[in-house]
């Protein structure tokens, strides 16, 4: 018997038991739904983090810190050499980079520039006749993609230029984003080394170069205002000069001349006792997290499919019992055992196909409908967190067909082994 004819006959017998076929395939559909969604979420998550990392970091950039001593148990022993360069963070104390370190790193081959992460702790931002607001200042990097609500930058920022966020435009009383371009804002900073009895502060004036809008991809743009590296250094110097922490940095960013050299520079820095992270490393850490979550979801999907396998076996056994007579007739007419077995395996394949198609189809519809809501709820703009890859959907359906056929093997064997004489005696 030709495979094509068996496929048609298998489909026809399923059509005759519609309710049972649909119920059995719905069990598989649950698994297919879960698996398709988790694959979509994984793909979406990875693409999202990929975009975040690539728009916030540069593949030529390394983030460098001092390597914490290995297998350190309990508090670190005091020694004169380390005392001045310990930097306290919420997580504990770590050693920090000093100017000596920066000079050392600068000499490594392929390194173009080393800039410590100036993080000037300014007092407030204001504008003539407006309220004062707390703000954080970060360094602008031309390699980081920003979404501009108004204005733009070509290349680097000049000194005394600043990029504001939309929130501050409103707070500082500008009528519109457009109207703020070219206007000035004042940043006031305290000199930390000044005695408490005679506090000293200075006002720095900046021209608004551009306004960045909230983007689902940006880490910095949402809350920090951006100034050029030298402006940040100027602020930092004013605030910190004369304090113990001056010229001690938790991290520095190292630019290499070519993205392909990032790894070799990282290896060298690691040998020198620094902890360096490339853009790929940061991506890797986030992706590991996504993969674990996706794995858990996939596990649930697999569990649902395992359950549905027993459903298929049960349904197909009942089907064989019900159609004993038909099987007997087909065998009497000369149908080979192998073809009888195939008929039932193909019925199982149809169930698997239906279940897979229903499940992944539903997942696609639900995902497409839910995508804007998810993006809105997570406040990530127009980024889609569920990405459906047609190839992986096809693989899911084909995989389920294979699983269903394997589930159909036992009932199919029973059908193939049926004695036609016994079967035809059934009245």
């Amino acid at each position: 018997m030709k495979i094509q004819d068996i496929v048609i006959r298998a489909g026809r017998s399923l059509k005759q038991a519609k309710a049972r076929t649909i119920l059995t395939s719905l069990a598989i559909a649950v698994g297919a739904f879960t698996i398709t969604l988790s694959l979509a979420a994984g793909a979406g998550g990875r693409s999202y983090t990929d975009q975040i990392v690539s728009s916030n970091t540069d593949s030529k950039e390394l983030v460098v810190a001092v390597q914490p001593p290995k297998s350190q148990q309990g508090p670190q022993k005091y020694s004169g050499a380390t005392s001045s360069s310990v930097f306290s963070t919420a997580l504990g104390s770590t050693e920090v980079l000093t100017q000596t370190d920066i000079n050392r790193i600068q000499k490594v081959t392929n390194v173009v520039s080393v800039s410590p992460n100036y993080n000037p702790q300014i007092k407030y931002i204001t504008r003539l006749g407006q309220d004062k607001y707390i703000v954080s200042i970060s360094t602008f990097s031309a390699s980081v993609t920003l979404k501009y609500a108004s204005g733009s930058t070509s290349g680097d920022l000049a000194d005394n230029e600043i990029i504001l966020t939309e929130d501050y435009i409103k707070a500082l009383g500008f009528s519109s984003n457009q109207a703020s371009i070219g206007q000035t804002v004042d940043i006031v900073a305290d000199k930390l080394s000044a005695p408490i009895s005679a506090p000293e502060s200075q006002t720095f004036t900046y021209t608004i170069k551009a306004v960045s809008s909230a983007s689902g991809l940006a880490f910095r743009a949402q809350s920090s205002l951006l100034v050029s590296n030298s402006s940040a250094k100027k602020l930092y110097d004013y605030i910190n000069l004369g304090t113990r922490g001056y010229d001690h940095f938790a991290i520095a960013s190292v630019m290499v001349n070519n993205a392909n050299n990032a790894q070799s520079v990282k290896d060298k820095l690691t040998n020198m006792g620094y902890r360096a992270q490339t853009a790929a490393d940061i991506l890797g850490v986030v992706n590991t997290f996504i993969n674990v979550l996706q794995g858990i979801l996939l596990g649930f999907g697999a569990l649902a499919i395992l359950t549905s396998v027993f459903g298929i076996i049960n349904t197909q056994y009942i089907s064989v019992l019900e159609r004993t007579q038909q099987i007997g007739l087909m065998k009497a007419l000369g149908m080979r055992r192998r073809d009888v077995g195939r008929l039932f395996k193909l019925e199982a394949a149809w169930i698997g196909f239906l279940g897979g198609a229903i499940g992944s189809g539903l997942a696609l519809i639900v995902g497409t409908v839910a995508n804007p809501f998810i993006s809105k709820a997570l406040d990530i703009g127009d980024i889609r967190l569920l990405i459906f890859n047609p190839i992986s959907m096809v693989i899911v359906v084909v995989g389920l067909i294979i699983v269903s056929v394997s589930a159909g093997i036992l009932p199919a064997r029973k059908a193939a082994k049926l004695n036609p004489i016994e079967a035809l005696r059934t009245e």
Partner: protein, 226 residues
């Protein structure tokens, strides 16, 4: 020509052993109509199963056209059966959910007849049993007599050499039964197809060329009409 030589078939084991056929031998010429007569439990159905290769006897041969079918592998017996034999049963065994067309198509599909050649064969067979206008109807919507006519169409569609009919009129009233009988004997005569009728009805058996009486698994008598 079909030769049955020393066929013995036992069902059950040891204490429960039951000899359905005991050293049965006879010959039937090709194109003849042969009735196998006997009461229920006499072994007449078993004889039909053995002759068609559905059942394997412990001993004995069934030689069809000079070939002992039991020397073949089961796979090849099945193939042989699909090309040369067909069956009509007392309880029709038509597939109630399928259309008449699909019911008749089954033996052709099993015998690997290409799709293009099936259509004309099926239509010819349906015309022969006067069911052509019902070809799209489901078999469950047919009357008993129509169902058996459908079964006849299914049996003749692949031009078999041997047609086995197991109590073909057993479930029908005398009028519809008569129609089926006429269909079978006409087909037998026109196409020189060997017709093997298994029955307990002496009137039906009397219409056949040869009557083989079987009793308790042994041949009681063989009578010929000519």
């Amino acid at each position: 020509m079909i030769e049955v030589l020393g066929v013995t078939k036992t069902y059950g084991k040891k204490d429960n052993a039951f000899k359905a056929l005991c050293d049965v031998s006879f010959t039937m010429p090709s194109g003849a109509s042969v009735a196998i007569l006997g009461k229920s439990g006499s072994g007449k159905s078993t004889l039909m199963h053995v002759m068609s290769g559905l059942d394997r006897p412990e001993t004995g041969k069934v030689i069809i056209d000079g070939k002992n079918i039991f020397t073949l592998k089961q796979k090849d017996i099945d193939k042989f059966r699909s090309r040369t034999m067909s069956f009509i049963f007392q309880s029709f065994f038509v597939q109630a959910n399928e259309s008449c067309y699909d019911n008749v198509s089954l033996p052709l599909e099993i015998a690997d007849v290409s799709k293009s050649r099936r259509k004309s064969k099926i239509e010819t067979a349906l015309k022969a049993v006067e069911l052509f206008d019902k070809k799209k109807s489901r078999a469950r919507d047919l009357s008993g007599g129509q169902k058996q006519r459908l079964a006849v169409a299914r049996a003749i569609v692949n031009n078999p050499q041997i047609l086995f009919a197991d109590e073909p009129t057993g479930n029908l009233d005398s009028v519809t039964g008569g129609v089926i009988e006429n269909l079978l004997f006409d087909y037998n005569r026109k196409n020189k197809v060997t017709l093997v009728l298994v029955t307990h009805d002496p009137d039906l058996a009397a219409r056949c060329d040869v009557q083989i009486h079987i009793k308790d698994g042994v041949i009681d008598s063989i009578k010929g009409n000519n």
